[in-house]
Assembly symmetry: C2
Homo-oligomer: 467 residues x 2
């Protein structure tokens, strides 16, 4: 697809596939209901997902124990991108996908987002287009294949299989799909809410040192966006270009890392050993501090998130309507990497974070990952480290800033500000025990193995694509 054709194509799909997403009372949902004995919100088929309760006890953070609603979805799904070389350049088959929780309804998604129910006989519906390429890999080359986590504060141990494969066969192009190069996709993260969360996590798994993927950036042109909407970056073009060169060196160049890779693993082991996390599944009706109204499940203080119900109706009557629960955040969040040149190599400040739904207690998160609103009432010394710095960073230090969406199939209009800030030499090397400076190459090595870098960290890494 030519650069100038992309935004019109996307806008066209946004117009053509207009859906009305309407909040409804829980009792108007079809096939979804609250189980009598547990109060869990479940689908009649027992499939898809459920909203249940967990009781959490931990020595991480200021709150030692609490209970909360959580999404339970134990099946491993597939997030897959099909690629193919045209004129020697690798192209990625991306989908203009509608999800009820999406801002602007349609965002750019991987070729396939499939739950296990989609491809087992339990499910009666049509299988998603192109799924067969991912179920039988015999004819393809596998470029990326790794299980990765989703939001540990919202999902109980959920994982998806992130796959990128290359085919040499013919691929019929369906209307709502398009072929883009990695360079073109990279430009799209500069804008707010175009590339969906699933696309960002899959793209974050690309090994920077794979030559066939570097080829894919050849046709990179900055003009794919009609109007770039990321306007908060106050850095000069010169400093952005310098940052780009430093990033590449931090990713694939000669390194002077502050810590050997073994040292990073030691740091993680130490924290997995130090932090205890005891998570017990409980009936949703036993969760304390939350209440259920006809319209939503909400925290008594209005904090965190609510569980709501929506109906989805298409203008086009050929498309089916449905109802489903969604998670609606109570405020926007912020995810930010602070980056600093140390020993001549850019280092990212990462955080080892315990979240109740984590698969292995601790995952590596961005420097700052929090809900913005919830800290306004909190004493400054109890706010997350580095949050003040990020909120007040001089704009010429900002290297990236845009609003990016969470998964529209589960979350309603949830967007978080994604920020990358290059701090200056006066910024301290010394950081709290669960923070560490690592190079981009080290961070990408950690993404290769499952459940080391969390979804916020991975998605923020994918934002480097614009460089």
């Amino acid at each position: 697809m030519r650069n100038q054709d992309f935004m019109p194509w996307l806008e066209n799909h946004r117009r053509a596939r207009r859906f009305r997403v309407k909040r409804i009372p829980f009792e108007e949902m079809q096939a979804w209901s609250f189980e009598r004995s547990t109060g869990n919100l479940v689908h009649a088929s027992g499939r898809f997902f459920s909203v249940e309760g967990i009781w959490v006890s931990t020595n991480f953070g200021p709150v030692p124990q609490w209970s909360q609603p959580i999404i339970v979805q134990p099946e491993i799904g597939i997030l897959g991108i099909l690629t193919k070389k045209f004129n020697g350049v690798l192209h990625f088959l991306m989908q203009a996908k509608m999800e009820p929780g999406n801002i602007d309804t349609v965002q750019l998604a991987p070729t396939v987002q499939a739950t296990r129910s989609n491809f087992t006989r339990v499910h009666r519906g049509k299988t998603p287009p192109y799924l067969d390429y991912f179920l039988d890999l015999a004819g393809s080359r596998v470029l990326v294949d790794v299980l990765q986590s989703e939001q540990g504060a919202r999902f109980l141990r959920k994982r998806n299989r992130n796959l990128i494969i290359e085919t040499t066969g013919d691929v019929p192009l369906r209307e709502e799909y398009c072929w883009l190069t990695l360079g073109q996709i990279g430009q799209l993260v500069r804008a707010d809410n175009i590339l969906n969360m699933d696309a960002r996590t899959v793209l974050s798994c690309i090994p920077l040192d794979a030559p066939e993927l570097q080829d894919a950036t050849i046709s990179q042109l900055p003009s794919v966006l009609a109007e770039p909407t990321a306007t908060d970056v106050g850095a000069s073009l010169d400093s952005l270009e310098g940052f780009r060169v430093d990033l590449l060196r931090s990713a694939v160049g000669p390194q002077h890392p502050m810590h050997a890779f073994e040292g990073i693993l030691h740091w993680l082991t130490q924290l997995k050993f130090r932090y205890e996390l005891d998570v017990e599944r409980i009936p949703l009706k036993l969760v304390q501090g939350w209440r259920r109204t006809d319209l939503q499940i909400e925290h008594e203080d209005g904090k965190y998130f609510t569980v709501i119900a929506v109906s989805v109706d298409a203008d086009n009557r050929e498309v089916p309507s449905w109802t489903q629960p969604l998670i609606k955040p109570c405020q926007e969040g912020i995810v930010a990497f602070l980056v600093k040149s140390i020993n001549g190599t850019l280092h990212f400040l990462v955080q080892a974070k315990v979240e109740p739904g984590n698969f292995d207690t601790v995952e590596i998160a961005p420097t700052v990952q929090c809900l913005t609103g919830s800290y306004q009432r909190v004493r400054p010394d109890r706010r997350p480290p580095f949050l003040e710095y990020v909120l007040n960073a001089p704009s010429e230090r900002v290297r990236f800033s845009s609003l990016q969406s969470e998964e529209g199939g589960r979350f309603f209009h949830e967007q978080n500000r994604n920020i990358i800030i290059e701090v200056d030499g006066s910024f301290p090397y010394e950081v709290p025990v669960n923070y560490l400076w690592v190079t981009l190459r080290q961070l990408r090595q950690l993404v290769k193995v499952n459940n080391y870098v969390n979804v916020q960290g991975r998605c923020l890494l994918s934002c480097l694509g614009y460089l």
Copy 2:
């Protein structure tokens, strides 16, 4: 310690610290009892471990569902070896440790084997010697620090922190401890049941490319053993020497691996995706096919293992007596690696194995890992792949063979034959889907991250130390 002094020193401790370990009826246990509501076997303090039930459902292997007793011990313990340079050579502080389930009562253990109860105030007893070195790492250099699994068929998601640290400070030497080089320890695996399981798993985590650890082999001498008891190796000295050279190349030399490292991760992801494992904790009294007598918990067909109770009394009245449950296997087992030269580089045939207590569904296991007896009544086509080959391998192809013990604090006289066989060129490259040929360097890279290589695989790797 000089080579010739080791066996007399160990024998001395075996004689001096004689214990009587006696089977007793469950009702004679102190502080251990069967919980009325669940039938679980628990300690009155709620600490140590418990024997509970699990209900397992999986699409791996010939049995789709079953229930079984399992050891529940959710705390992460420490298995730590303290090292220090003497005359420029790294020495490892090893302990002659008595455990009630040990064959020969005393085996050589890491400096510290500590459960979390040992170093939290819940526990009233003395803390183990040298533990402080591992709780405050500030004065030490960390050589190895990784969480690793234990037997997935016996423990529910149990993990220990495997640590090797180097100190430069003075270390008082207590009577039941000794300093050995890595070369000396390597010789000890040639004999049956000297190096305990905890020592073997910690040693397996040593990175072969760390120069300070290679120094440790300088004083390697083959005469540390009074009488090597591993007599089943029919290979000539020449072929053993050739194998040693090939092994080193497979570990640290130039490589021609059959699969890129990313290919191995893809293979693992695919199998973690393919195999479903649903494990539910259930009360021990609801486990089906097992029964409890006054003396043991046993499978109705006499298979697998029994849970027994023992009393432990020292001749020396100053040492306390106690009672505890142990797991007693119903037959010996076998763990074996098949190794083959491919593209001029030695490759190990590994297996992706699902066991119910696994932390992440699948872990990498040796080529063969099974109970020998339980397959005699099984149709040949249902026996584990490659078992027949291992049982009937020509003795000149055997590169290593000895009996090694499982953890004597939980298992009663459990020993497994550990075998490494180098197959010839006619052995097929083609293997079933959950098997893969990998180099030694690749296998050791996988040991660096937690929960990729299982305890049988790691312990068998440590047996390469003799080379």
